[in-house]
Amino acid sequence: MKRRVLARFAAFAATALLLPGLLLAHGSAHRGSEELPPAPRPAAFADHSIYQLGSLWWNDRGAQQPLSALRGRPVVLAMLYTSCENTCPVLVEDMKRIERALAPAELRGVTFALFSYDPARDTPAALAAYRLKRNLPDDGWRLFTGDADAVLELAAVLGVKYKPDGYGDFQHSNLITVLDAEGVVRHQQVGLNAPAAETAALLHTLLGR
């Protein structure tokens, strides 16, 4: 008896809510009648692809790009902020160690990406300065900054923990993540000064060597 009441309630709630949706769909049918060719759509994302996030970022040239702009190549990714003096340079050196473990031909197929925690200070110009300071090659290395929500979401999906300390610094995890070409997390290198061998071996595999 109770079950039936609940079922009825649920059915009622669902109908009541779907109704406005149906009206909307009907309304938009007018526009649909112009029969525009369907826009080309990229193939659906993998179930665990982080490119489903759809967040927008600015690179160090000031161009806005969706996260999914990285799709198509394996990505070695870390989060940091450019005014971080202690751990972040070590994290970048760890990524360079991975870079050095790859053959020149392989390097052309891999993206190294840095995402900032610090929307307030890491402007595209600050990222550009960081590129020079850390001597990050133009091809291969991409630097991104986004709004607080995009940062939160990316950190959440990577399992990165971070916390602004209120004085311009951040406490944060030290993680290097490897994404495959579809944006699925395949490996995470944990901590600083970790040997590059395991990560490099995975990249060899992803690159089909």
């Binding site: 982080i50 959440a156 399992g159 923990k161 916390k163 004085y167 030290n174």
Partner: protein, 249 residues
């Protein structure tokens, strides 16, 4: 929603003491406010989001139905107690809090309503209030009540929202019904975390967390901190729900 007056939230863990200048600066005028942050007034849902509320959301947003949700956004336990995609069923009564929801799904629900999840600081500030006091974090009876709840196994059927207690601000059941997602759940860093990606090299940290907590008596706050630090954004659980908030007046 109801308005929750702003206040000072003292995070459980103080910011870095690596920089002595900051350490001194961080101690508030009252001597106890190390690392305290001002939390402006905000709005908070009176009740946790119910199964009926959540049904409206999945009815309008098919990508959040159980059979459609992407693996990136929720683990396989998502809405496990529901009978099917659009029927919560007998194990998820309409007026009970929705549980088995991930951070992504909770956040999407609040966005759909034009709101967002409360921050840890907002949640803790609201939850510090008892029925009669704005800040009951030093009230042994209040703290004991929370601990007693933490000590009980979760019931198979959750009570309806509004059935536990109403605090001074008119917010119900912040303790005693379900654990609740917060926006910045992933800001809970535990020093010496077993995962090993932080803490072991404390001195190498940018703004390494100090180990000494703000209020060692508030054991319940430690438990919430530890619980949040154990969460993953895809994670769902039988006693983990949420409510929404809005930036204040």
């Amino acid at each position: 929603m109801v308005a929750v007056p702003g206040g000072r939230d003292t995070p459980l863990y103080k910011p870095s003491e690596l920089n002595p200048a900051r350490g001194a600066d961080a101690v508030g005028a009252d001597g106890a406010g190390a690392g305290a942050v001002e939390v402006p007034a905000f709005y908070l849902d009176r009740f946790a989001v119910t199964n009926a509320d959540y049904l409206a959301f999945v009815a309008a947003n098919s990508q959040w139905r159980r059979s459609n949700v992407a693996g990136l956004f929720a683990d396989t336990g998502y809405l496990r107690a529901w009978e099917n995609d659009l029927l919560p069923g007998p194990l998820a009564p309409p007026q009970s809090p929705v549980v088995h929801v991930s951070w992504f799904s909770a956040r999407a629900y609040c966005k759909w309503r034009g709101a967002r999840l409360p921050t840890t600081a907002q949640w803790e500030l609201a939850a510090a209030a008892s029925e009669t006091s704005a800040d009951a974090r030093q009230d042994p009876a209040f703290l004991q009540r929370i601990l007693n709840w933490y000590g009980q196994p979760a019931p198979e059927l959750l009570s309806p929202v509004g059935s536990v207690y109403r605090n001074l601000w008119g917010v119900h059941d912040l303790h005693g019904l379900v654990w609740e997602w917060v926006l910045d759940f992933n800001s809970a860093l535990v020093t010496g975390e077993s995962r090993g990606d932080m803490g072991l090299e404390r001195r190498l940290f940018c703004a390494a967390g100090a180990i000494d907590a703000a209020n060692a008596d508030d054991y319940a706050a430690f438990m919430r901190f530890a619980f949040r630090s154990s969460l993953d954004a895809r994670y769902t659980a039988s006693s983990l729900g949420f409510r929404c908030a809005l930036t204040g007046p």
